[in-house]
């Protein structure tokens, strides 16, 4: 059962990722990314991290993707021209991607990590549930937690400054 779910979710994630890259229309790319994110949430559940999976669906597939859909609807889903500024870009880029994948796979699989080939240690029932993650966030990682909240606030203010209306008399 776990294998079936893993391969279904893996194909969903991979198909979504390829869809993001291959779709001509940005709007379809956003929809493919939503499929990808839901499949990743299933994978997170298989790795017994329920809270990250829930955050993935609520924050990512919910809020962030809505932002993308609004921006794509605002700027218009224009299709890219076929013009290439770098000769052979469409041929070289997949080649580099395959090289990157082979390199990463070798780096991980040829390492001497002891848990490779196992399913990891047995975990207790509460592994990765909101209580455990919340405890870690507030007890052990309080400073990174606060720092990331300040970062989010700064990003929101920055986006308003960047995208806000031009004031009177301001040159382009």
């Amino acid at each position: 059962m776990e294998e079936v779910l893993f391969f279904l979710a893996a194909f969903g994630a991979l198909g979504g990722a390829i869809g993001v890259v291959a779709m001509r229309n940005p709007f379809h790319s956003v929809l493919a990314l939503i499929v990808h994110l839901f499949s990743l949430a299933v994978l997170f559940l298989l790795l017994s991290s329920a809270f990250v999976a829930a955050a993935q669906v609520v924050v990512y597939a919910g809020a962030v993707m809505v932002l993308y859909v609004f921006v794509v609807a605002y700027v218009g889903g224009g299709e890219e021209s076929a013009w290439e500024s770098i000769p052979g870009q469409r041929f070289l880029a997949p080649l580099l991607g395959v090289a990157l994948f082979v390199e990463l796979a070798i780096a991980v699989l040829a390492s001497s990590l002891l848990a490779l080939g196992t399913e990891g240690p047995d975990v207790k029932a509460g592994f990765g549930d909101p209580a455990a993650i919340g405890y870690l966030l507030l007890e052990k990682f309080l400073v990174p937690f606060e720092a990331s909240s300040i970062l989010l606030l700064l990003a929101a203010v920055g986006a308003i400054v960047l995208a806000g209306r031009k004031r009177e008399g301001e040159s382009a």
Binding site: V64, V71, E80, L96, V98, L113, L136, L152, V161
Partner: protein, 99 residues
């Protein structure tokens, strides 16, 4: 499922995202491909956290999600600003900063 399947899947997704950044020219799609790469990193973090049997990797994954949200907000703000100034939404044509 053995852990290395997750790691291999994560490197595959990372490579797909990198290819997307290399071949696409619309800034929106480049941001989407960045999301792909960040999520591949998240999958590796969560898989490693399961492999060690320790939840701290999941906290890292949550922080990566926050970083991704910040990047999206600033990036989309830039795209809207570019669009408002009637500049082309194509990273090859936005070359004024190129030396």
């Amino acid at each position: 499922m053995s852990i290395e399947w997750y790691i291999v899947l994560s490197s595959l997704l990372f490579a797909v995202g990198a290819v997307g950044i290399l071949i696409r020219r619309s800034p929106v799609v480049i941001l989407l491909c960045l999301e792909l790469m960040l999520n591949a990193g998240n999958l590796a973090l969560v898989a490693f956290s399961r492999m060690v049997g320790n939840q701290q990797g999941q906290v890292f994954a949550l922080v990566v999600m926050v970083i991704a949200a910040c990047e999206v907000v600033v990036g989309l703000g830039l795209i809207v600003a570019i669009f408002r100034r009637k500049l082309p939404l194509d990273v090859d044509e936005l070359r004024e900063l190129r030396g």
